[in-house]
Symmetry: C2
Subunit: 328 residues, 2 copies
Amino acid sequence: MSIRIGILGYGNLGRGVECAVRQNPDMELAAVFTRRNPEDVHILTETASVCRVSEAADWKDKIDVMILCGGSATDLPEQSPEFAKLFNIVDSFDTHARIPEHFANVDAAAKEGGKVGIISVGWDPGMFSLNRMYANAILPEGKDYTFWGKGVSQGHSDAIRRINGVKDGKQYTIPVDAALEAVRNGENPELTTREKHTRECFVVLEEGADAAKVEEEIKTMPNYFADYDTTVHFISEQELKEKHSGIPHGGFVLRSGMTGWEKEHRHLIEYSLKLDSNPEFTSSVIAAYARAAYRLASEGQTGCRTVFDIAPAYLSAKSGEELRASML
Amino acid sequence: MSIRIGILGYGNLGRGVECAVRQNPDMELAAVFTRRNPEDVHILTETASVCRVSEAADWKDKIDVMILCGGSATDLPEQSPEFAKLFNIVDSFDTHARIPEHFANVDAAAKEGGKVGIISVGWDPGMFSLNRMYANAILPEGKDYTFWGKGVSQGHSDAIRRINGVKDGKQYTIPVDAALEAVRNGENPELTTREKHTRECFVVLEEGADAAKVEEEIKTMPNYFADYDTTVHFISEQELKEKHSGIPHGGFVLRSGMTGWEKEHRHLIEYSLKLDSNPEFTSSVIAAYARAAYRLASEGQTGCRTVFDIAPAYLSAKSGEELRASML
């Protein structure tokens, strides 16, 4: 029997989950729940239903894992605890500072409902977190580095688009090669914000807008750009559409550590991702953890979990025997 | 209270474990067990005992986890099941093809003794296996690649040293850059053995030995060298000692996969290690899994486990709360 998946919220992430479910033969998409009018939402899976969020509770016994695809700012802090009372859930809550609070809320709700909730699934938080944790456990003495990119930052692109005179824009976060190489060489550098990443912006101006003024406003924007070396390119709407409509991302997690009685040996652990589509990769991680949620729940477990709490084998469709024979 | 560690076998790996235990404040080395005369074995930890292997059973209640540091060919197939009846154990059994059989033997013994046995811990098998497994679960459609090196292959170095006329030698396995780049570019190449790795040998000849004959014999050796582009350098004993006495290693695990409704997006997951000391890094992984063995046993679990079966948080000295707050 397939694992029956529900998707709550049909944006980039929801569509990504739909695609990921299709790649996993032991899963099927049961329904997509939307705040829009269901008739206006056209999904790709012919066998699945599109329903209003308000109808979700009726699907309690027809969905094994509900995947929450809303945003971390306002959607998930409410939705995850609410739905964890009714369903096993997976979310991609990514406001790092608020994770402990979110964990506590989902844990209480999931225990109340006798369900499993897995939070903060994706690549950062998610696979990057896992790699930081494994590397720290293996090399207790060392230094951690995370670099992001090259990739589109949605938050920074939004910030550009809010500027007066800007019609559209895309921002790429780019790791500084020299910094990455210094880490790989075991130099254990202390890196400032400016030394780790640069920011590259592609901007379409409104007609008659003052390019110099827009550029100045971008480059001096506190938090977003002021602490970085930022490049601004003005391009046509046509060029933005042709060359910058994708959502690529990626990054690097490194730990540089030492071992030996006198700490005489150096080691470098590096994990990296190069992703054509940030939401589709995030969704693919989520689908694997949906399988874990289903299995943990089948064992009678309840409460909140993160990637740290789940044995890797739970993510795979293969049995323990198959995994040992083929991948160990 | 510290986790009391025993080490069985005091070669490179055993010494590595001793160093790793020192870097983990929640562990202490209780005793080293050796087949040699204990008086001839000089360890680094002043507070630990050196004992005969035959005395190990007397330490049943004084050791929480026994780490087996013997070889996979003949030691571990016997020792792991034998000692799993008496102790929680961790081993680094690395004969991939025999892992299912070894798992079954250790599982039966550990269950009989009410203990936990974690097998095949290190980096390959071990961290490389984990990364293969996670990447496969995330990207069900894709292709796997593992490259080893640059590093010293003990087996190939031994093979060189068995040749008539060779006094000493060291062999490095080197991944082919062009192959690695093709994988990173998403070309999903089909690679032959020769295209993936080259082999570089540094050889010290016995006086009067025939260099051309030795070189020919190395390059045509079946299984070890015949399928590779092999370079042979003849050097002095002095140079071998000065430049090639380390045991560096490392490698790359990559998965190149695709997502999207029409598989239109490509993704690359890459994990790599660059290690000054192969045995010390392996030992560091083992120490983290010794912590996991201790905790699993404290929960009353018994039987055999691999890296696939153990939730990452068990490896860390930090609590779940600390991990969520600092690493997620």
